[in-house]
């Protein structure tokens, strides 16, 4: 049985009110949801709340899961919406998309590559990204998700996901070059 089939099986049992299945589902996925929420919100207390709220949404909504997407795509989609709600309560909003010129990114990555050898610098620049950019970077590089899956999770067109990752990369490059110059 693959993870995908296993998750679908668990969701079917959760829909029947099986608490043991819910425990198995929690144990399989809670650390991933926590990592996602923590990366986005940078607040362990708020991230813990997101995990519980997301798992409760799974408990209450398993019966409505149609199986059109992978269970994990559905799960991260819930966590994404819960995180947006949390940010709204804090009075913050996801960053608006800026209209960067893609052709402009022909800049040499050699300097950024050298600067990225310093792990602290790279982490500092990652932390400085907006919530929306941190989110797509996390889904692309921590979860290794495809751009169509990320688009489903963050509820935007596939092209937006690609340009959002592109902008994140561009900002990281600029940040690393700035830090290297001191």
């Amino acid at each position: 049985m693959t993870d995908h089939e296993s998750d679908n099986e668990l969701i079917a049992r959760i829909a029947d009110g099986n608490e043991g299945a819910m425990t198995s589902f929690y144990q399989a996925h809670e650390s991933r949801v926590y990592a996602f929420a923590l990366r986005k919100l940078n607040d362990p207390h708020a991230a813990a709340d997101i995990v519980i709220e997301t798992m409760m949404a799974v408990w209450n909504g398993a019966g409505s899961f149609k199986g059109q997407a992978k269970v994990t795509t559905w799960l991260f989609g819930i966590a994404h919406r819960k995180s947006i709600d949390a940010l709204r309560k804090r009075g913050r909003h996801m960053a608006e998309e800026l209209d960067f010129d893609i052709v402009d990114d022909s800049a040499d990555f050699t300097a950024a590559l050298e600067a990225s050898e310093n792990s602290d610098r790279l982490r500092q620049c990652l932390d400085g990204l907006s919530e929306a950019h941190k989110e797509v970077v996390h889904l692309a590089f921590f979860e290794d998700l495809s751009y169509p899956e990320i688009a489903t999770i963050v509820e935007c067109p596939e092209g937006t996901v690609k340009t959002r990752v592109f902008h994140a990369k561009k900002m990281l490059r600029q940040c690393l070059e700035r830090l290297k110059r001191g």
Binding site: T23, E30, Y34, M56, L172
Partner: protein, 196 residues
């Protein structure tokens, strides 16, 4: 992607992060590899993206573990036992419960803030027992129980409402387990107690 996109350098450039994470389909991956053969700058960028991916994956993000599971089980139990009341009445009850929690939290803080060793859970400290108190437990009940087992609160609450308590006398493991059993017996006050 369309066939036309797969011949467009700009479109292929946008796929580099997904080439690095291995999520492209065969046609996309083949087109990106052809693009990279003739573009040394893009190859440098791929190395940068691989380093970025390594850094993102190395970050230790932690876990809620068993205490998160207990909190989830508790919330599920509450939804099952929740009476059918009007939403207005339910909101009033929730508001009253929240107010009670704030008052209780204030009382607890006043008692424990005089302890020089007070710190947030997870910062460090010696081994002890981790406890979650019931939301309905009063400060007097908690104080009485802790006095009875000879324990003091050293840190907390953590993100999940977990407190770390330490025993006033050094005890053997068997005696510590007795204390944990005693705490668990008082289920009206303590919802969870485990060896730290």
């Amino acid at each position: 992607m369309t066939e036309r996109d797969l011949e467009n350098p700009e479109s292929l450039h946008l796929l580099l992060p997904f080439y690095v994470n291995g999520s492209l389909d065969d046609a996309e991956r083949h087109s990106v590899e052809t693009y990279l053969e003739n573009n040394p700058a893009a190859r440098t960028e791929v190395v940068f993206l691989q380093r970025l991916r390594d850094e993102v994956r190395q970050t230790d993000q932690g876990s809620l573990g068993a205490f998160g599971q207990k909190r989830l089980e508790k919330e599920i139990a509450q939804t099952r036992s929740r009476p059918a009341v009007t939403s207005t009445r339910w909101r009033a009850i929730a508001a009253a419960a929240a107010l009670l929690a704030v008052i209780q939290g204030g009382l607890l803080f006043n008692i424990w803030q005089s302890d020089d060793g007070y710190k947030m859970l997870g910062v460090g400290g010696s081994a002890g027992v981790e406890v979650i108190f019931n939301e309905t437990a009063t400060e007097a009940e908690i104080r009485s129980l802790l006095n009875e087992v000879g324990a003091t609160i050293r840190s907390g609450p953590g993100a999940l409402g977990v407190y770390r308590i330490e025993l006033e006398h050094s005890l053997e493991n068997a005696d510590i387990n007795k204390v944990i059993e005693k705490l668990r017996e008082n289920s009206a006050i303590v919802s969870e107690a485990n060896l730290d």
